[in-house]
Symmetry: C2
Subunit: 296 residues, 2 copies
């Protein structure tokens, strides 16, 4: 079973048992929990050596950067502002870069106004595993933007450009879309309906929005904004790790927000499922696109 499916399966059973203070439980980009009336966004993500980065070629600073950026990107996907982070590291006993790694994680965490306030180190025989929990606050006016808010008639939009993340090294240097998310919350308010960050390919991740919202999403492959050098929209989907935002909005969205291009790539319909309309007119199930660690 795929990791993400396993996790969804596990959480589906526990979702009904959440107490009232848990406003958003497992299954979105992050949870939202109330602390005496204040809403706190919380998310955890892992970075695994050999899986999410190549240990031979990746500088320690970029390992640290990606570990922090992945969790910060989840905060952005809720339209939130990061507050702090905690990092747990499993490291080989002979690891020489623990010191540099935590230094770099602390620096990148500060960079995204998300100071590292706690951590843990354990030595293991296994690969390096960095687990980063990020906390944040939702946009003061818009509130947290969930995966479940898409409605028939919304447009589907994506920030920036997609594809070639692994080959280009962008998966190590992407900028979490905090500024864009905040600007979208401010500009669109309640018209900003649903949002997710793209880690597993736009087709698969749009499919998650469709499932969470109980709608059908139709994406138009020809309209996908691709990075220079990326010519095949399928490979862009297969690579994943874009960490751009995909969102749905009622009515028009601006073409540029916080210096980042916004492109309309599809539409939300009544029904279920997520399809990609290919340039030759076929419809492909988005579940057959994209990328999932642990896929068998």
């Amino acid at each position: 079973m795929r990791e993400s499916e396993l996790l969804a399966h596990i959480y589906a059973r526990s979702a009904g048992a959440m107490p009232p203070g848990v406003l958003v439980g497992p299954g979105d980009d992050a949870a939202v929990v109330e602390f005496g009336g204040r809403r706190v966004i919380a998310t955890v993500d892992q970075l695994v050596e050999g899986r999410h980065y190549d240990p031979e070629s990746t500088p320690v600073d970029l390992i640290a950067r990606k570990a922090i950026a992945r969790s910060v990107s989840d905060i952005a996907a809720m339209g939130g502002r990061p507050t702090c982070a905690l990092a747990a590291a499993s490291l080989p006993a002979d690891c020489r870069f623990a010191d540099d790694l935590f230094d770099s994680m602390a620096r990148w965490a500060q960079h995204w106004t998300c100071p590292l306030v706690g951590g843990d180190i354990a030595t293991t025989a296994g690969p390096v595993v960095l687990s980063v929990t990020a906390l944040g606050e939702p946009h003061a006016v818009r509130g947290p933007v969930l995966r479940s808010g898409a409605r028939a008639g919304d447009g589907v939009y994506v920030t920036g450009a997609l594809g070639g993340s692994l080959a280009s090294g962008r998966h190590l240097t992407f900028e979490p879309r905090l500024a864009v998310a905040a600007a979208l919350c401010g500009a669109l308010g309640g018209r900003l309906r649903a949002m997710i960050d793209l880690s597993d390919g736009h087709g698969r991740d749009a499919g998650r929005v469709a499932v969470a919202s109980g709608v059908r999403i139709a994406l138009d492959a020809a309209s996908l904004p691709l990075h220079d050098g990326v010519t095949d929209w399928r490979s862009a989907a297969a690579d994943g790790e874009d960490y751009e935002l995909l969102f749905t909005a009622e009515g028009a969205a601006p073409g540029n927000v916080a210096g980042v291009t916004i492109t309309r790539i599809g539409v939300v319909l009544e029904g279920r499922g997520c399809v990609v309309r290919t340039p030759d007119g076929a419809e492909i199930d988005a579940g057959d696109l994209g990328w999932d660690h642990g896929a068998s």
Copy 2:
């Protein structure tokens, strides 16, 4: 270098850089961060297969229990009440108990009113590593109880009994001292000066309070409350993993709180360091006692 020393070393450098909203940064049992005036306690801890439990003999439910309980114990050590938790798991690709493991973690988290609101699974070639972040709120009146509050003249106290945790299996079944901590906050208020949970042996952990508070602590070995079957106070220190609370208080503390015995085991003095006075009158540096994973 020992793991805990490495972490302390790493965090010592970053401690000065914390923004004003971070009331307690790295280095205590947990961090305390302000969210619009509400204080949130946050901590992360890891449970590693073969290190913190024996994979051959430990039921999945007790692996899950210990993973949650360790982080909940950190919340208790701040005098806090848990609010929610997030769990990240690194599991072997052929792991058959992921489902049961997350089920059990969710159940134990609920048990300690700390619902699992988020998670992540990654398959690796390495050992099972469970990383649990727990969030909580400090006691409404007393506020968070730090390691740094001990003052000369305080008594040093411990909850429950110590020793034999590994041999007895108590390290898998201990009860995080949430109720005791809350009752101590209520009963002692500002007289409850400093607190820590005992994971690495009372000597080593008391030493951490001494360092954080800038005081000297003298423990009396003869007064240590030992579990039935534990006859040697040194072995009690060496085992660690008691997860009882050690605290300092101005004036007398009650002998029993929330059904748990409280024992006075030492005194806080002017100066630096932490010593254990042995039954034969010698003074041993507490740094030479106790247990630290990764000690060389």
